[in-house]
């Protein structure tokens, strides 16, 4: 369980305030909010790259607020996936284990297992710049999950993918959660991602946590209005066009 209390971050003119937020074991929390409201700052504060002015971050009652990033066990996946360009896919995935000085044979076994899980076994010898967006994404996931992190922090992971890939990756992530069980914070400004993946949805606006909701609660809040209106627009238009029954080809 991750517990955030009275967190206050100052970065130039920008401030971020999170009074109280608890993320349970194996929970998938989606953080929503428009651009520039502090979602990335929030993840970077959790990961330890930004030091908060006030407040505490705890994991199972261990105070992590002052710990450096490498001691937190919070694995981050940035928007552009952050693969190490000079390493092969294999070396990328193995990185966290090599750092932990784990036995070579054990590393090999684990890398192969996770590669299989992510359906990237055929890419292990490739360099990141030869991969497609979806492949990079799965390498980044493997690299993060293989170290069994306390939580993975995903920063708009699908924003660089085209729609068909996004749909695929959504399904992929959902399956993965069932297979592996992990705790995650997933930042996005996409309502579909949020509804598809979230156990709960936290909404941040202008540097402030406005609330945490279940998906069914969230769609009825004022915060969801613009997103719901957008969905409604599509729904209305489809109806106008006389399409009430869309056959989805997968």
């Amino acid at each position: 369980m991750i517990e955030i209390k009275d967190l206050y971050v100052e970065l130039g003119n920008f401030t971020l305030k999170i009074d109280n937020l608890i993320i349970n074991e194996n929970e998938y929390l989606v953080v929503m909010g428009p651009s520039g409201v502090g979602k990335t700052v929030f993840l970077h504060t959790l990961a330890g790259f930004i030091k908060p002015k006030k407040g505490v971050i705890r994991y199972n009652n261990i105070d992590l607020t002052m710990e450096p990033p490498e001691k937190r066990g919070f694995a981050i996946i940035p928007q552009d996936f952050g693969l190490f360009p000079h390493m092969t896919v294999y070396e990328n995935i193995a990185f966290g284990l090599v750092i932990r000085k784990i036995d070579r044979n054990r590393i090999d076994e684990l890398v192969k297992r996770y590669a299989e899980l992510m359906e990237i076994s055929h890419l292990l010898h490739r360099k990141p710049n030869t991969l497609s967006g979806g492949e990079k994404q799965r390498v980044a996931l493997a690299r993060a999950l293989i170290i069994k992190p306390r939580i993975i922090l995903l920063d708009e992971p699908f924003s660089n993918l085209d729609p068909s890939l996004r749909v695929k990756m959504l399904g992929f992530l959902k399956r993965l959660r069932k297979q592996l069980r992990f705790t995650a914070i997933h930042v996005t400004h996409d309502i579909i991602e949020a509804l598809e993946l979230a156990d709960r949805i936290a909404y941040i606006h202008r540097g402030e946590l406005k609330g945490v909701f279940t998906p069914s609660e969230f769609v009825n809040t004022q915060y969801a209005k613009p997103y719901m209106n957008e969905l409604l627009l599509v729904y209305k238009r489809l109806k106008q066009l006389g399409i009430d029954n869309v056959n989805i080809v997968t």
Binding site: F49, E70, A75, I77, P78, Q79, D80, P85, F95, I99
Partner: protein, 261 residues
């Protein structure tokens, strides 16, 4: 269509003129070489050839030493300058670029005033046994001073070209600052290290003004070229210069092809 072709034509004319501008002096030098003098100064005349060879060796050695030392200083200094913000950083960066702006003879005088026997830090240096007047280390000091901004600025550009989010990922995967630096930052910086090394080496090889003032002896190539030009005339100076230019060209071409791989 025609417009684009005119554009390309103009471009290629300007480009050719530019290349010609650089190439002509090199060709002129190669044409001016008198084979007999060349053989004499480098091989057959015992006195001259010894001077020439020693000067060449000394120049290459001193420039190499200077670049190695600059690399050792530059890698951490540039890291600090690009990864951390602090008060007065602009001033520090301006100070680093000072050697680019001042005449080389002035640089030589400044070095003497700082590190010479009677300079501010002279007594401190003499404790370690290092004297810069007319010594190898004097040449290295002069070379380091003039190449300093080139090394630092090249490495800074290198650090800036590395996506910082990659370093953050490595940290979050459990790598401490040192691990991250060694396993992620340094390998990605390597092309810039090689470039910085080459450029500062070249700058060091070509330095003469500061060296003339700090350490006329032992004679580097550039000092010897000046001296021979004054006492033996153009033919002898050309004979020395030819080898230096040829050598630099070969080193640059070799290293550039290595880096491309």
């Amino acid at each position: 269509m025609i417009k684009i072709e005119k554009f390309l034509l103009t471009l290629s004319i300007i480009a050719s003129l530019g290349i010609l501008f650089i190439l002509t002096p090199i060709i002129a030098l190669f044409i001016a070489v008198d084979p007999n003098t060349l053989v004499k100064t480098w091989f057959t005349d015992p006195l001259l050839s010894e001077q020439a060879r020693n000067a060449l060796l000394l120049t290459l050695e001193a420039a190499f030493t200077s670049s190695i030392l600059l690399m050792i200083i530059g890698i951490p200094l540039s890291y600090f300058l690009t990864r951390y913000g602090f008060r007065g950083k602009n001033i520090v960066e301006a100070i680093i670029d000072i050697p680019l702006m001042i005449p080389h003879a002035v640089a030589g005088i400044m070095i003497l005033l700082a590190y010479g026997r009677r300079g501010i830090l002279g007594p401190l240096l003499s404790v370690t046994g290092i004297v810069i007047e007319d010594s190898f280390w004097g040449i290295v000091t002069a070379m380091m001073f003039v190449s300093f901004p080139i090394m630092i600025d090249t490495l800074k550009l290198g650090y800036l070209s590395i996506d910082e989010s990659i370093e953050l990922v490595a940290r979050s995967m459990g790598a401490n600052r040192l691990d991250t630096f060694v396993k992620i930052t340094l390998p990605l910086l390597l092309p810039s290290i090689v470039a910085g090394f080459l450029l500062s080496w070249a700058r060091a090889v070509s330095e003469v003004g500061a060296i003339l003032i700090v350490a006329y002896y032992p004679k580097t190539m550039n000092v010897l070229v000046l001296e021979w030009f004054n006492s033996y005339g153009l033919k002898y100076a050309v004979s020395l210069s030819f080898v230096l230019v040829l050598f630099s060209l070969i080193v640059f071409i070799l290293l550039k092809t290595v880096v491309k791989k």
